[in-house]
């Protein structure tokens, strides 16, 4: 007689909404005629909003189900909401973009749903196998999405590079899980943590090596250096709304999973992983921000910038404190809003057949569209960490957390690289405020795009002016 495990449905409610919605939508899409695929997108938006509503309803819930492999707690809920917000905004930004570029297919919205479902699963996972599964799910959808501009060769190239790197990294991930299982006899984080103090000799080394490989397998997704090489090429080649989506949502989910693995599963080994991660964070900050300096292609610049931001995000797990976790959530929210706002401006200026996203196309933007320039300015200033935007508070909270954790060198490096970052962000704004250089590219200002951009910009300002409701400085 097999006893079925008791399932706590509140914990999986969000997942059910997303995956159920995605499946139903996949079927419904068959009935929606080509040319009306915007309907699919709006339906997907409804699904995302529904999942978000469920998440808000369960905001205070903590618990585990499915034998402790899935968990929900306020941190997971918060990161999940960031992912859902990113998905919702990305759909808004993409709705008309796809039609404009004649790649309006129903699968887009469904893929985004499956992707965000994978992210939610990754965030909620408390077991390495579930993590692997969810990472595979979100990766595969993102590979397809990166190549969504088929038959555009750049888009296909991006998808292929992403796939190759992903496959390569997944190997490390699986090997890491195997080593950990071998050392501890479990794949559930809680059990691994319990086994931690008893590990000695080579078992300790196996566990540590497994953890390192696990960090590699997750970290490449967050563009940590030296596993970042795919980032500029993929962001550049992928359709812009897809680049926007993957630059924020998958990062959030992966950072949450990394945090769980490191702090819940391997808190015991902190003395080993913390210095290594600190070095990785430092390298990520330096390579990302320095690499962005000479980019003339705005999408590549944003790709390098997102590498640099990942370095900052890593401060959260390194700090290994409530302060660090709070700062991580806030940073993810602020970064999501700012990066999506920046990409929204690019989307508003991108006509079909554009290949190189040259910075010159932004010159003179202020004279043509003060509104777009304002959104761009807010986004870039927030990314640079200038008050009164969300980015300033986020960076401040992160620096505070690592300072408290005893990493003054990381604080100095964070400040120095932020100064370097200001150089390339402000250069773009300078272009936008200056005279026009090339023939004015067309502008697109349909309402979903404007709504998405306005919401993102609003979030930047609100988080910057009133951070108190998401972050407490105590």
């Amino acid at each position: 007689m097999i006893t079925l495990p008791v399932i706590d449905w509140t914990i999986v409610a969000q997942l059910l909404v997303v995956f159920g919605g995605a499946t139903v939508l996949l079927l419904l899409d068959l009935a929606i005629p080509a040319g009306r695929k915007q309907v699919t997108a709006y339906l997907a938006l409804l699904v995302v909003l529904g999942a978000a509503a469920v998440g808000v309803m369960h905001a205070g819930v903590s618990g585990a189900t499915f034998g402790g492999t899935l968990r929900l707690d306020p941190f997971r809920t918060a990161v999940g909401l960031v992912c859902l917000a990113a998905a919702a905004l990305s759909i808004l930004l993409a709705v008309t973009f796809l039609g404009r570029h004649q790649i309006e297919r129903g699968e887009f919205a469904v893929l985004v749903l499956f992707g965000v479902g994978g992210m939610l699963l990754l965030v909620q996972a408390a077991d390495l196998v579930v993590m692997f599964l969810s990472l595979a799910l979100l990766s595969i959808t993102l590979y397809v999405l990166a190549g969504f501009a088929l038959p555009e060769p750049r888009s296909e190239e991006a998808a292929l590079k992403y796939l190759l790197t992903g496959a390569f990294a997944t190997g490390f991930l699986v090997f890491g899980i195997a080593l950990i299982y071998g050392a501890t006899g479990s794949t559930t984080l809680a059990t691994i943590a319990a086994a931690g103090p008893g590990l000695t000799g080579e078992y300790r080394l196996y566990a540590a090596a497994g953890l390192l490989l696990l960090v590699v397998g997750l970290g490449y997704k967050a563009s940590l250096v030296p596993f970042h090489m795919w980032t500029p090429d993929v962001y550049d080649g992928a359709p812009t709304p897809v680049a926007a989506f993957m630059s924020v949502a998958s990062k959030a989910a992966v950072l949450a999973a990394l945090t769980h693995v490191l702090l819940v599963g391997f808190g015991e080994l902190r003395a080993l992983w913390a210095p290594i991660l600190a070095v990785v964070a430092a390298a990520t900050l330096l390579v990302g921000n320095i690499g962005a300096l000479v980019q003339q292609n705005v999408k590549r610049m944003l790709a390098y910038s997102s590498i640099g931001q990942a370095g900052f995000l890593l401060f959260g797990p390194i700090a290994a404190s409530d302060r660090g976790i709070d700062a991580l959530v806030f940073y993810l929210a602020g970064y999501t809003a700012a990066n999506l706002a920046a990409f929204a401006v690019l989307i508003a200026l991108e006509a079909r057949g554009e290949t190189e996203w040259s910075m010159a196309r932004l010159s003179g933007l202020w004279q043509r569209s003060p509104g777009l320039t304002l959104a761009l300015a807010l986004a870039l200033l927030s990314l640079a960490g200038v008050p009164p935007t969300a980015g300033f508070i986020a960076k401040f909270a992160m620096l505070d957390a690592v300072w408290q954790a005893g990493y003054p060198a990381l604080v100095v490096l964070g400040v120095v690289t932020s100064a370097i970052a200001a150089a390339y962000y402000l250069r773009v704004l300078l272009r936008a405020a200056g005279p026009a250089e090339t023939d004015a590219p067309p502008m697109f200002g349909d309402w979903p795009l404007r709504l998405g951009m306005a919401l993102a910009a609003l979030a930047i300002v609100v988080l910057g002016l009133a951070p108190g409701w998401l972050l407490s400085f105590s």
Partner: protein
């Protein structure tokens, strides 16, 4: 009549609103002039009402205090935004709004055809508001706000013709404005230090105990500190009150153009003539005198500081008078004369002759405003000629201007029975009899002689002798430029009644505020007055005779004064303002500019900007090229870096666990 106390808030608010309304609403010269003049006039009416309210109060408690809100509240540093209207303030406010209104009216005619009338009238109103705030503030910090406000307005109005490269006699308005501002800033810095010292040692910046805030008044506490010292480290020590008094004196030297900070006032004549009359003669420059009178408790307890005040005042009175005697520019004579007369006031209040100082402040406000406005009428009539060498014999052409100018000149020269006679004589008498300081008295008498001389000289140069240039079209002012002159001429003539010996209305009016013993009038003082008047008449006649009769024919535009022959280098030194400008230029301005040029070009340009900033930028751009070079775009390169990274990290881990 306590229900009318609120009227004191109208006094500074009306001109402030006038300034705002002029800037925002007025379009065109007429509207601007009307709004501003109405605001100044209404403020005068409000002052009259306030004085009447004050009059109905018992003499011992004759003051209106009103706190609007707590301006600053940091620990024990509490500052109110409150006004104090006592009898001293009343005198100042009457002068400011009264003469101010007249000058506003005069400006209606004088500024006709100006390219920026809205700006001019708005600033003029703003000045009146700031000056009223200065004299009505109930604490030093608020007073300082007014003090800086009038400085700002002075800067703005001196630079009214900022687009002109040069105005007679060869001053660049923008530079003159900057000079006035910077020189004043030196005084302001010292004044700020004085305020800080007062707060730190006396625990309050309020003049009187403030019931609303619960702060004590520092004036009544001052005497307690008479023998307390501040330590200056290796420099020894100095009495607290002496330090406060000396720092305040530096502030006074800036604002009231006393030596050695007097150099800005002659150049301030680059502003429009009504500005010279209002700000640089009648009101703003007297702020320093008001400050000393307001702080008489401090100065009477600090004899060392007070004697410095007397010394500075007396020396300034004489040296500036000598300078005035050598100028050819119409307004520059009056500017040096103003410095000299301010010297009289400063010397007077330094000796403790507060009522006499205030008396002279009032009469000077009347006759110097008259002289400046009359000079403005002349400049108008002669189409911007200010060089007295190009005038002469104008009394037939401009009989009205001649007469009012003569009244002003006689009053300034201290000729009986005009206003200047009474006030100046009182100061000299105080120096000789009450303060018993014959040296100061003799300096002041000598200055009086020189004053009479330069006014005689000026009247002779302008109105007597041969017409050195034809001014056929010259005509007397009329309309709005005429009757303010009449009013002021009457004031300059009979202003002495304010404080006639034996009647002394002003002294008894100020007595409750200043607690100064009443002046005693003796036969000695009467004899003294006769002697001083005789000297003044002699000096005046000498000046007139010399320039109207003797050297009349030798005066040529562009040439030096023929009288230079008699005095040589002394004359030359006086003409240049005793070389202070030259000294400051060599000792401060040029070294400062060279230092800035060095810092700007070498330190900032080469080292900071070039090496540090530019070098950092170049370094990181080079690094960025390196990053880009690694990023070839080939998938195999990316995976190789990936693998290398994994190997390095694993090696690091191994090294750490092995340890």
């Amino acid at each position: 009549m306590s229900d009318l106390r609120w009227v004191i808030w109208l006094i500074p608010t009306l001109p402030l609103l006038g300034a705002v309304a002029t800037l925002l609403l007025a379009r065109g010269e007429r509207a601007a002039g009307m709004i501003a003049t109405a605001a100044a006039g209404l403020s005068f009416v409000a002052t009259l009402v306030a004085v009447w309210v004050l009059q109905t109060m018992p003499a011992e408690a004759a003051r209106i205090e009103s706190v609007a809100w707590t301006w600053i509240d940091v620990a024990s540093f509490r500052v109110s935004f409150g006004l104090l209207f006592d009898r001293l303030t009343a005198v100042m406010a009457l002068l400011i709004t009264g003469v101010g209104s007249l000058i506003h009216v005069y400006s209606l005619g004088y500024m006709r055809g100006d390219s920026r009338p809205e700006r001019f009238f708005a600033y003029l109103n703003l000045f009146v508001a700031a000056m009223l705030l200065l004299v009505m503030a109930d604490n030093l910090v608020l007073l300082f706000l007014g003090w800086e406000g009038v400085g700002l307005c002075s800067f703005l109005l001196i630079g009214h013709y900022f687009d002109r490269r040069s105005v007679p006699p060869g001053i660049v308005p923008a530079e003159a404005a900057t000079k006035a501002f910077v020189v004043n800033r030196i005084g302001d810095a010292a004044f700020l230090l004085a305020i800080m010292l007062i707060f730190s040692r006396l625990g309050s910046v309020s003049f009187l105990p403030n019931a609303t805030l619960g702060t004590p008044g520092y004036l009544e506490r001052a005497a307690e500190l008479a023998f307390v010292d501040v330590q200056l480290g290796p420099l020894g020590s100095i009495g607290v009150l002496t330090a406060i008094g000396l720092l305040m004196l530096i502030g006074v030297c800036g604002k009231s153009a006393q030596l050695p900070l007097s150099t800005w006032l002659p150049d301030a004549m680059a502003g429009p003539t009504p500005v010279s009359a209002l700000i640089h003669a009648a009101t703003m420059v007297t702020a320093g005198v008001y400050l000393i009178v307001r702080n008489h408790g401090v100065f009477s307890a600090a004899p060392t500081a007070a004697s410095w005040v007397v010394g500075v005042g007396a020396v300034t009175a004489l040296l500036a008078a000598l300078s005035a005697a050598t100028q050819f520019d119409l307004k520059r004579v009056l500017a040096y004369s103003t410095i000299s007369q301010l010297g009289y006031m400063v010397a007077a209040v330094g000796m403790g002759a507060y009522a006499a100082g205030m008396f002279h402040l009032l009469t000077h406000g009347l006759f110097k405003a008259l002289l400046f406005l009359a000079a403005g009428a002349l400049i108008h009539a002669l189409h911007d000629v200010q060089d007295m060498r190009r005038m002469g014999g104008l009394r037939q052409h401009l009989p009205f201007t001649f007469r009012v100018y003569l009244v002003g000149a006689l009053a300034l020269a201290g000729i009986f029975p005009l206003a200047g006679f009474w006030s100046k004589d009182e100061i000299i008498a105080h120096a000789w009899f009450t303060a018993q300081n014959p040296a100061i008295a003799l300096i002041l008498i000598a200055s009086a002689a020189v004053t009479a001389f330069y006014m005689g000289r000026q009247v002779a140069l302008i109105f007597y002798g041969q017409p050195r240039e034809a001014h056929a079209a010259a005509h007397d002012p009329h309309g709005s430029m005429r009757w303010p002159l009449v009013v002021l001429a009457v004031g300059a003539a009979i202003g002495g009644v304010l404080n006639l010996p034996g009647v002394h209305w002003l002294s008894s009016w100020l007595e409750p505020t200043l607690a100064e013993p009443e002046a005693v009038y003796s036969v000695g003082k009467a004899v003294m007055a006769v002697i001083v008047t005789a000297i003044a008449v002699g000096g005046g006649y000498l000046g007139w005779w010399l320039y109207a009769r003797v050297v009349d024919g030798n005066i040529v535009p562009g040439k030096t004064d023929p009288a230079l022959y008699y005095l040589g280098d002394i004359w030359r030194g006086a003409e240049l303002g005793w070389g202070l400008d030259w000294l400051y230029d060599r000792a401060i301005v040029r070294p400062y500019r060279q230092c800035s040029a060095f810092l700007g070009r070498v330190v900032d340009g080469e080292a900071l900007d070039g090496l540090l900033v530019g070098g950092t930028g170049r370094t990181f751009v080079a690094l960025a090229r390196g990053v880009r070079a690694v990023q070839s775009g080939h998938a195999r390169r990316g995976l190789a870096v990936f693998l290398l990274g994994v190997v390095v990290l694993l090696a690091a881990l191994l090294a750490m666990t092995m340890r």
